[in-house]
Symmetry: C2
Subunit: 316 residues, 2 copies
């Protein structure tokens, strides 16, 4: 039997799976990344995950992987925000150790590729992924391939939606991420609480700690907590504006919305986003694009990595 | 000898040229489009231009053309804003009449393609064209090819740069075009004049008629006319914001600025645009992109059309 390995190297955990030739998961493994123990430790953790997936009965045709950060030549992690990779040639290391082809991509790109590959719209040529979580990530598929520009394309969270608006972690002002990410939402909620606004979110914030959970926002939104509705609606307003601009620029046939917030509240939020996008798209362009919610959840990364290596080998 | 014909079918005039195999113009012809006399008249005018370019000594290998509007399959003008084309299959007509290969593109796309092909940056893979004229047009080149999405991509003038801002002709609000096109600039000038602002532009406006000339803006800007500087700087501010967002989304290696305003004032305006773009781009991304001013002027369309047909034939 022959198979592929898909890896999702995250800031806190490494997820891996062994896939058969048809994309069925045969085995899966999860380990902590241990990024704070240095790069050799991270490498060791990756090896442990891959080692436990290798099976004597299955010939590994190749390994695909996603990692946070800027990726060069499907090989090198130039820089990663939460793992100490610096110009780190993971491809060389993996191909030498496992004697098989290895391809690497940015985690959001790979996740989007997985969602796009498994989407219901099989004839999609050009698609955009918008992922609303701690930040707002994005990815672009053009002509059925991941588009990465010079390596850093798809920073949809840093589209400017309000030029002199809220400060963003990127150093800019008025980025989409500053309004529509969980970080941006939480910041606004805290500010409003400080101003004396009453909200059920105060308790949730204390329980959730560092960053508010999507499930907490969902609960408060369903209960029609006034502040929560206000802040979530504002997030959707700006998501709709960015979506409208993206449609005008790229005229895609599919936009996939994912990430924690869209996974828990997407059905309610998608109509709000679409309504706002409609206000800002050129006549006709909105009709040729479908909106979809992501559905692979935590498996998007490994499934995308499987498709990436499979497609790379099919092309050879 | 062998050659190609390049056509630029505009709202008011049709420009055509006969090119030799190396892209040198052998002959050129210009005729009025006569769009108000109906589609048969326009067709006749196109035939007249092509007819006068055909030369017994030169075998025509193919014809390329640009037209305003939404173009399908490099063949059909689905809709054009200023010529009465509706689902008009120009490819079929031209190939039947001239018995040679014909390819068609949107005029801004074709102009950008020409500028990109003749740019100093020969290794450019992914580029964006931003054209500031009566409106703000745009075009995208990805992987060394024109990118058109479902046929309508590159509407950069309709990126939202100020969500609840000025009304735009497209029905939206706060589009780049509403601030940075000559139409948007003129609208603001007229409003300020009505409010009693003193400006040299008042006279220019009366002289220029329908739409203010780029040369009038240039003169007033050079004379440091207060209102002119204010409105032009605002146009650059929003161009910079859109440019920043575009770099974050597409991470291109080249952006070409063209159109009447950039042709006359580009050297002064480019630093303003770049300064604002820098405020809004992700760290690192701005360093991998070059800014260039267009240099083909009115010939961008015919030269782009020449490259389009040449490249299409080379691919066959």
């Amino acid at each position: 039997m022959k198979g592929y390995i898909g890896l999702d190297i995250g800031g806190t955990k490494i997820l891996g799976a062994l896939f058969d030739k048809n994309g069925k998961v045969i085995k899966r493994k999860k380990k902590k990344t241990k990024a704070n123990e240095g790069i050799d430790k991270v490498k060791e953790q990756i090896f442990k995950v891959v080692g436990s997936l290798i099976d004597d009965d299955i010939e590994i045709l190749g390994i695909g992987a996603g990692s946070p950060g800027i990726i060069k030549d499907e090989a090198i992690i130039t820089f990663s925000p939460n793992i100490p990779f610096r110009d780190f040639n993971l491809k060389k290391i993996m191909e030498e150790k496992y004697n098989t082809k290895f391809v690497l991509g940015n985690d959001v790109n790979i996740g989007t590729y997985g969602e796009w590959k498994e989407s219901g719209k099989k004839d999609s040529q050009n698609a955009i992924g918008i992922f609303v979580g701690t930040g707002v990530g994005g990815a672009i598929i053009i002509d059925r391939k991941l588009y990465t520009g010079k390596g850093g394309a798809g920073e949809i969270g840093h589209m400017v939606v309000n030029p002199e608006g809220a400060f963003c972690g990127c150093h800019g002002k008025g980025c989409l991420e500053a309004y529509s990410s969980k970080t941006g939402i939480q910041k606004e909620i805290i500010e409003q609480i400080k101003k004396g606004r009453k909200t059920a979110l105060k308790e949730y914030l204390e329980e959730d700690g560092d960053i508010i959970k999507s499930s907490s926002l969902e609960k408060a939104y369903e209960d029609k907590d006034e502040l929560c509705v206000e802040v979530i609606d504002r997030a959707c307003y700006y998501l709709g504006i960015a979506t409208g601009s993206l449609i005008n620029i790229l005229n895609p046939d599919l936009i996939i919305f994912g990430g924690g917030i869209m996974e828990s509240m997407g059905k309610e939020l998608l109509p709000l986003i679409e309504k706002e996008a409609r206000r800002h798209t050129m006549p006709g362009l909105l009709d040729s694009v479908d909106f979809e919610l992501s559905h692979l959840s935590d498996d998007a990364g490994i499934i995308g990595a499987y498709h990436l290596i499979k497609d790379a080998l099919d092309e050879d």
